[in-house]
């Protein structure tokens, strides 16, 4: 029962898509709060969000496994060794990338724009919906792209929390590792080429999409 290339490809896409969505869902509120200056605990939150950048993914995965594994505090959810675990790991690793990009974009919006909307009586939700998000959109897309690319290539943390189970959690990135371990370099090259093409193609498409938004902005 050799796992087909198709299954590895699909697993990679599913995990990367899930992780990107999850990182964006958690990251957007985080970026909005971090972009607002002067509140207690902002530095600490900043530090925590960026921690996954500094930690080697294997170590991050090891601790995540202690949390979601059988004997961990979230063990009862039975997340470990499933695609959900892989999504969680990839989202955690990609989160700082999304938050940084989103935060920069939000901080780049002049305060006067927001103030003008406030004076005109716009609610906070309306400011978010009609001012902040549209103006920050190119930056948000950059954040999504970075997270997507990072998730596709995610390896260390995923291997730890989701295992290397063909047909279930074996992504393309993990398949490259497995092939190298077996000394099957030709197979490793094939997987790597596929992974790079996939990342390249999706990034190119997204950049084109982002480009259209940036042009609209300039007009």
């Amino acid at each position: 029962m050799a796992p087909s290339l198709l299954s590895q490809l699909l697993i990679s896409l599913q995990i990367a898509a899930g992780a990107t969505l999850l990182a964006a869902a958690i990251g957007l509120p985080l970026a909005l709060s971090l972009a607002r200056p002067g509140w207690r605990g902002r530095r600490v939150l900043d530090l925590l969000v960026n921690l996954p950048l500094a930690l080697p993914p294997t170590i991050l995965g090891f601790y995540l496994l202690q949390v979601i594994g059988r004997s961990g505090p979230l063990g009862s959810l039975s997340l470990a060794f499933t695609k959900s675990a892989a999504i969680l790991a990839a989202a955690l690793v990609g989160l700082p990338l999304f938050v940084q990009a989103a935060r920069n974009a939000i901080e780049g919006i002049p305060g006067s724009v927001r103030e003008a909307a406030q004076i005109d009586g716009a609610s906070r939700l309306a400011i978010l919906r009609y001012i902040l998000l549209p103006l920050a959109l190119p930056g948000l897309i950059t954040g999504l792209l970075l997270t997507w690319g990072r998730s596709l290539g995610e390896f260390g943390a995923t291997l730890m929390v989701a295992g290397n189970i063909p047909g279930q959690t074996q992504t393309l990135a993990i398949a490259v590792y497995s092939a190298v371990q077996a000394g099957e370099y030709n197979r490793a090259h094939l997987f790597a080429l596929l992974l790079v093409s996939l990342a390249g193609l999706t990034t190119w498409l997204a950049l084109r999409w982002r480009g259209t938004f940036s042009e609209e902005m300039r007009v």
């Binding site: 599913q14 202690q66 059988r70 004997s71 060794f81 290397n164 371990q181």
Partner: protein
């Protein structure tokens, strides 16, 4: 959403493609990849039972088993890890299934003639690759052999360590290290000149397996563990450079 349904469709196609019985999931040390793929294929051919192989570092797999990984059988690259898991009540005993050996390997492209451990003290040999002894039993065996041969103090400064036995082999294959002390199973005779290292210079590298306690496929797992002792499996292990465990 659409992606998900495509995924689900493919998953169900995959499941339909499998035999009606759930596959046996075997977690094994990465160094066992080639022989185990052949052994699993032979097992499936004989019994009709599908086998899923999950490879990783022995230590990583052990950490995953402690956290409830859905494995049925664990084949380690050493004997101590299965024993520890067995002591913790996570594994049902530790049965030896193979014994690793170390060899002296030189990349053919380097064009050096090295036939004994004493040759390693020569000045034209700048780097000697071994696996990290803290993680890989083959690395520990390499240091033991160098000490037993009486050359350790002279060659110590030339040692470079690979994270695992495969990476160590790559150091030598690429010519970045002139010489390496590698696992016989990992030394490719197409690119490397290989000399055996006498077995009395280091403690044998026994590898053990164990059935995961609480596995829903315990009977099949036992059957596979049994299969590892058949002449068919032993022939494959031998072909890939593993000595057979003493009975």
């Amino acid at each position: 959403m659409r992606l998900r349904s495509i995924g689900l469709l493919c998953l169900s196609l995959l499941l339909i493609g499998c035999s009606s019985r759930a596959p046996l999931t075997v977690a094994a040390a990465a160094s066992m990849q080639r022989p185990l793929q052949a052994i699993a294929a032979a097992f499936t051919k004989q019994t009709g039972q599908a086998v899923t192989l999950s490879f990783g570092a022995t230590g990583t797999l052990a950490a995953q088993i402690e956290q409830g990984a859905p494995f049925d059988l664990f084949l380690a690259a050493n004997e101590s890890t299965p024993k520890q898991l067995s002591d913790k009540g996570l594994l049902d005993g530790a049965q030896r299934y193979a014994t690793g050996q170390i060899v002296l390997a030189v990349a053919k492209r380097v064009n050096l003639s090295v036939s004994t451990l004493q040759d390693l003290t020569r000045t034209e040999i700048k780097r000697i690759a071994i696996a990290n002894p803290d993680q890989a039993p083959y690395g520990k065996a390499a240091i033991d052999a160098l000490k037993a041969a009486g050359v350790w103090t002279q060659v110590q400064s030339k040692i470079v360590m690979g994270e695992n036995i495969r990476q160590t082999a790559q150091f030598v294959e690429s010519g970045n290290a002139e010489v390496g002390l590698l696992a016989r199973s990992d030394a490719d005779s197409a690119t490397l000149s290989i000399t055996p290292i006498p077995g009395n210079l280091y403690a044998p590298i026994h590898q053990a397996l164990g059935i995961i306690k609480g596995s829903p496929h315990e009977a099949v797992a036992k059957q596979f563990a049994q299969f590892m002792t058949t002449t068919e499996a032993k022939a494959i292990l031998d072909q890939y450079g593993f000595a057979l465990p003493p009975n």
